[in-house]
């Protein structure tokens, strides 16, 4: 005599579960961010009056940075042979913070269309992304190359742009990609080498910079006007402040990051902007 069992004979329940899962996946895959490139094209082209200014400054770090161990590259002999195992998500040289992405927001730039620059390169060298932080304009070509003798996969995970995950073996030709929508920032990771991280800031305009080894930055040819200057760091977060660019003037704006008493990433101390008349 064959008997059914009370708690496993539920094929309908299993089928319903699978159907729900499939519907969830379809709903997720169908959701796409609308491109704002059309809106960008509707704006008038910016016409230079020859009175553009500059924003300069430096980013300093006060206090003790978060402890970061040396990178373990032993998973890939080629990478381990590269030698440099210093962390690159937080780089502080003599109290100056590197790899801060700085950009402006304001009607003087947001209401116009600016010409797109030439291709920018994101290289994979010594099992690092070079540069670690990169700014590009919407529609600008990002050329991704692999200078290493090992394989990588290039995996940006944007929220407002089309993501991709492409394997790039050593010797492969560079990949070229563009991002259509403004997004600050797009994390990039190599899943083959889990320490390899980069960040790409995508803006409609070209008024951005990345702080260098000495924490300094410079944003040139900025149309005169009042702006919000945004400082973004992948560990210490984003903060903003006001800055005014006078015709042909140079505005100096320093910034300081500082960890809080609990050792959490950071609070941001505002520094009063300095306006330098021409």
């Amino acid at each position: 005599m064959v008997q059914s069992h009370p708690f496993i004979d539920k094929p309908k329940a299993a089928a319903a579960l699978l159907l729900m899962l499939a519907l969830l996946l379809l709903a997720g895959c169908g959701a796409k961010n609308a491109s704002d490139s059309a809106r960008k094209q509707d704006r008038p082209a910016y016409v230079s009056k020859g009175d553009e200014g500059t924003i300069i400054g430096k980013v300093v770090f006060a206090g003790t940075p978060p402890p970061l161990e040396a990178i373990n590259m032993t998973g890939d002999a080629v990478c381990a042979a590269a030698g440099d195992s210093s962390p690159d998500v937080v780089v502080i040289n003599n109290g100056r913070l590197k790899n801060v992405f700085i950009y402006v927001r304001g009607a003087s730039v947001d209401d116009f269309r600016f010409p797109t620059g030439g291709p920018v390169t994101l290289d994979q060298k010594n099992c690092r992304y070079v540069p670690h932080v990169l700014g590009v304009q919407t529609g600008q070509i990002v050329r991704i190359s692999n200078s290493d003798q090992t394989d990588h996969n290039v995996h940006p995970t944007p929220k407002k742009n089309q993501g991709f995950n492409i394997s790039q073996a050593h010797g492969d030709a560079p990949l070229e990609r563009v991002f259509d929508n403004q997004e600050v920032m797009i994390p990039v990771q190599c899943n083959q080498h889990n320490w390899m991280r980069a960040n790409i800031g995508v803006l409609d305009h070209p008024f951005f910079a990345v702080s260098g080894d000495d924490g300094s930055y410079s944003i040139k040819n900025v149309p005169p006007g009042d702006y919000t200057l945004v400082f973004w760091h992948e560990v210490f977060g984003e903060q903003s402040m006001s800055v005014k660019v006078a015709p042909r003037g140079t505005a100096t704006q320093d910034a300081e990051f500082k960890p809080d008493a609990n050792g959490k990433p950071a609070t941001f101390l505002r520094v009063a902007p300095t306006i330098v008349a021409p």
Binding site: M1, V2, Q3, S4, H5, P6, F7, I8, D9, P11, A14, L18, L21, L24, L25, G28, C29, P66, P67, L68, E69, I71, N72, G75, D76, A77, C79, P87, D88, V89, V90, T150, D151, N153, H155, T157, G163, N165, I166, S167, P187, Q189, N191, Q192, H193, N194, W195, R197, V235, N262, G263, K264, P265
Partner: protein, 344 residues
């Protein structure tokens, strides 16, 4: 309390099938561990194509480095488990006289195929990682529970004649064990959702309290009511050990994860203050490191073993405890004595 095994030829358990089910269960634990290592090492997208890997079934040795080691090993072991499950389903179909066991084994095989497909979707649509990875994790654990159930159904002890006892003395154990099973599965979902960045640790931490209470209650109630029945007491004792281990591993995994994420905890008060709903911005600042990787993987495996033990206790409870005090013969015992020829 157990008594001697049936002597009827038709009701004899298929020992080979049982041993093979245990083998598949062990292999599945290895697969779960491999999957845990993929996630902990952030290697889930290291092989961008699927079902092939870099366009091949067997990758070149020079490709087998970095994160590819974890992802490709996971795929390889998953293939082995799928094949073993196919053999198990085939063996059950031709080697077990119970129609429901044969159907169940077939359903489990369909489950592993579906799971493989979801794993493929996870690879091909990396932007929808939490949405896909969480069901992938749930089905993985459920599959493991189902394989353990097959091992139970084919075991000698399942076929042995048991003295039927009323399920009394408070809240029925049949209900408690079923509740425990639901709670553990729910907790696995919450853990996977935290791990894959759907939300923060708070739901999983609250779930841990609920699971500890319900599963602990179930185990203690089992021991208090059936301390002399090893058939029920053994999994209950094991459950208590696993529960304590799991909570300890969970706390340690969380502490080390926060440190790796650049937010080290500063004492007990800070531990509770950081139980938040918002997900961590990233798994790690620079790269995942030990002991976080091992602790998290161990936490996942012990979670799976906890689920397996709850499955065993639930099945045995339903087998030997009658819902009404006057009931003397359970359906499970009747199943064990059903003629083999009727099912083949």
């Amino acid at each position: 309390m157990s008594s001697p095994v049936h002597t009827s030829v038709d009701a004899r358990p298929n020992r080979g099938l049982h041993l093979f089910a245990i083998f598949v269960a062990v292999l599945t634990v290895v697969l779960l561990l491999a999957g845990a290592l993929v996630t902990s090492n952030e290697a889930g997208d290291s092989v961008p194509d699927w079902p092939l890997s870099f366009g091949r079934w067997l990758i070149a040795s020079q490709r087998f480095n970095g994160g590819v080691r974890y992802e490709y090993s996971h795929r390889f072991i998953a293939g082995a488990v799928s094949f073993a499950t196919f053999i198990l389903a085939l063996w059950a179909w031709f080697g077990d006289h119970r129609k429901w066991v044969r159907r169940f084994a077939l359903l489990v095989f369909a489950g592993i195929l579906g799971q493989a497909a979801i794993g493929g979707v996870r690879v091909l649509f990396p932007a929808y990682k939490p949405l896909i990875a969480v069901p992938h994790a749930l089905i993985a654990q459920s599959f493991f529970g189902a394989i353990v159930a097959i091992a139970v159904f084919t075991s000698q002890s399942w076929f042995a004649r048991h003295d039927m006892k009323p399920d009394g003395g408070g809240l029925a154990l049949r209900r408690l064990t079923a509740l425990s099973l639901g709670c553990v599965l729910g907790q696995l979902v919450l853990g996977a959702a935290f791990r894959h960045g759907a939300f923060g640790i708070l739901p999983h931490a609250l779930g841990a309290v609920v699971v500890a209470a319900v599963v602990g209650w179930t185990a203690v109630a089992t021991l208090r009511r059936h301390a002399n029945d090893r058939y029920l007491a053994r999994p209950a004792w094991l459950l208590i050990v696993l529960l304590a281990t799991q909570v300890t591993l969970g706390v340690l995994a969380y502490i080390t994860r926060m440190a790796v994420a650049g937010q080290p905890l500063a004492g007990v008060g800070d531990f509770f203050a950081r139980l938040q709903l918002a997900p961590l911005p990233s798994l790690s600042l620079q790269q995942p490191v030990e002991p976080m990787i091992s602790l998290t993987a161990a936490h996942l495996v012990v979670g799976a073993l906890t689920l397996a033990t709850v499955v065993v206790l639930t099945l045995r409870t339903y087998q030997v405890l009658t819902p009404q005090p006057d009931m003397v013969e359970s359906g499970a015992n009747a199943l064990a004595s059903s003629p083999r020829k009727a099912a083949v």
